[in-house]
């Protein structure tokens, strides 16, 4: 695996993305975002800023207006299927993502839908579970895993389709300290283009060299994560703040 990068083509290109809820409320007001292959970018913003709505556009689950291109392929009804394979979204609550009876069934769900058949399917499942350190749990039910293990299996369900872009929605939510660190180690070992939506600023700093700040449906800042987190005024203006006792190391 490795995502088949093509030189000169960006991993993600979003231009002028706007979206309104069916009731008319505008959520996204023209988002622009450009991500190079191999980058890890944190998407920061307060609750209600439109972060999750933005994520659901990247694989066409929601459809607004504007232009979205993943690894050179523009999103359109014709390319939807391939785009969904290219963009792997790990949702916030692993219980929403693990809907099959066993871990292995769940990891196979994506690639099987995208047309991968045995024996490659089994190989994909094994490789994805190994990548997240869950190979020995293949036949268990997700009910019997800890929150941290479930989060890693959810990541494997997406890795099995070999996505060009990995999108994580609040990956650290609800994790105890050890599980949180273990997930960080897995993510750093993957070497994938990554978009991480979070309000956990220390986690963003630990994992993503670059960050964009979204509020009221537009990108209000884009730069090195360290610089964004050092700008106390910027954070305060967008209802973000570093947790008590957290000191970004120099």
């Amino acid at each position: 695996m490795g995502g088949g990068r093509v030189a000169g083509v960006s991993a993600l290109d979003v231009r002028g993305l706007t979206y309104r809820y069916p009731d008319g409320t505008a959520v996204l007001h023209g988002i622009d975002l450009h991500v190079e292959p191999g980058e890890r970018v944190a998407v920061l913003g307060p609750n209600g800023a439109g972060k999750t709505t933005f994520v659901l556009h990247l694989n066409g689950v929601l459809t607004g207006t504007g232009h979205i291109e993943v690894a050179g392929l523009p999103l359109s009804p014709d390319t939807m299927r391939e785009i969904r394979r290219r963009v792997g979204v790990v949702f916030q609550d692993p219980d929403d993502q693990l809907f099959m009876p066993t871990v292995a069934d769940d990891v196979a769900f994506g690639p099987a839908n995208f047309g991968v058949t045995e024996p490659e399917l089994g190989e994909r499942v094994r490789a994805a579970l190994s990548a997240v350190g869950m190979a020995e749990h293949a036949d268990r039910s997700p009910m019997h895993l800890s929150e941290g293990q479930r989060r890693r299996v959810a990541l494997a369900t997406v890795l099995a389709s070999d996505p060009e872009l990995l999108v994580l929605d609040e990956p650290s939510a609800n994790l105890e300290p050890v599980a949180r660190r273990e997930l960080a180690e897995v993510l750093l070992s993957l070497d994938r283009t990554m978009l991480m939506v979070t309000h956990d600023l220390p986690y963003a700093l630990q994992l993503c060299p670059r960050a964009v700040l979204i509020d009221n449906g537009v990108v209000v800042a884009d730069g090195p994560t360290r610089d964004l987190l050092a700008d106390a005024d910027l954070l305060a203006a967008h209802r973000l703040e570093l947790p008590w006792g957290f000191v970004p190391q120099p």
């Binding site: 689950v61 969904r84 993502q97 009876p101 066993t102 839908n113 997700p142 009910m143």
Partner: protein
């Protein structure tokens, strides 16, 4: 789902029979039992023997089945009542005049209901829940049925967990419903639970879409079932069907 499931993990020949074969065999066997004329007492003896034989191969103790067969209890009640309330000629049992037809009818329900529940328990004890759904899928159950059943089995524990935690939170705040009219909080909790389930359904659907969902569950590769395994898996049902055929043969 895990809570309350009757499956007993094992690796017996009964466990290994493909689920679609076991499903068809179980239905055929129970139908054979039900179709057997109630006066053919010997046939029910053969049926019981077949069931016991399957258990010994499956390695599941008799006591385990006996404890779980009580699910049938309400209909035992019907079986006991029938001899007293049915019409027709009377016979004397222990000094009490009861309906002869009712006596036979009660026996009929008792024998067939018991054998039926024992056969169903045998299926449940030796087949994982997910394999039961897989078996139904291979027997060409509609796609909607497979999707609903798969997600239902996965999420009933999640929702039951929410239900349990809500209940604990309620009694922690002094709720103590002893009468139906005090159960208002329980029912409102049911409404809230519906909303949570619905919203989870929307999120699960999105997560499925994101991984290429196109309306039907991918079925794992089904190894073709050879004629020999069909015969092996179907043999208990075959014996029961034979007993039925002999018993029902017009004399």
């Amino acid at each position: 789902m895990s809570g309350g499931v009757l499956y007993r993990p094992g690796d017996s020949p009964v466990h290994r029979i493909p689920p679609q074969v076991k499903l068809l065999a179980a239905f055929a066997a129970v139908l054979g039992v039900v179709a057997t004329p109630r006066e053919a007492f010997w046939a029910f003896g053969i049926d019981l023997f077949v069931v016991l034989a399957v258990w010994s191969v499956a390695g599941v103790p008799v006591g385990w089945f006996a404890r779980r067969a009580v699910i049938e209890a309400p209909f035992v009640l019907l079986a006991v009542v029938l001899p007293f309330v049915s019409g027709g000629p009377r016979v004397d049992v222990l000094g009490v005049a009861v309906s002869q037809d009712g006596l036979l009818a009660g026996w009929n329900i008792l024998a067939k209901g018991t054998l039926g529940v024992l056969i169903a328990l045998t299926l449940a004890a030796t087949t994982q829940p997910r394999d039961l759904v897989l078996g139904l899928q291979r027997l060409r159950a509609p796609a909607w049925f497979v999707t609903i059943a798969t997600l239902m089995l996965r999420y009933v524990d999640v929702i039951a967990g929410e239900l349990r935690r809500t209940r604990i939170a309620r009694i922690s705040r002094g709720d103590d419903p002893r009468f139906l009219w005090q159960a208002g909080a329980v029912a409102r909790g049911a409404g809230t639970l519906f909303l949570r389930s619905y919203e989870r359904g929307e999120r699960v659907h999105r997560a499925m879409l994101a991984r290429g969902w196109a309306g039907h569950m991918p079925a794992g590769p089904a190894a073709p079932v050879g004629a020999l395994r069909w015969v092996a898996g179907g043999s208990p049902a075959l014996v029961i069907a034979t007993a039925w055929a002999v018993a029902a043969w017009p004399v």
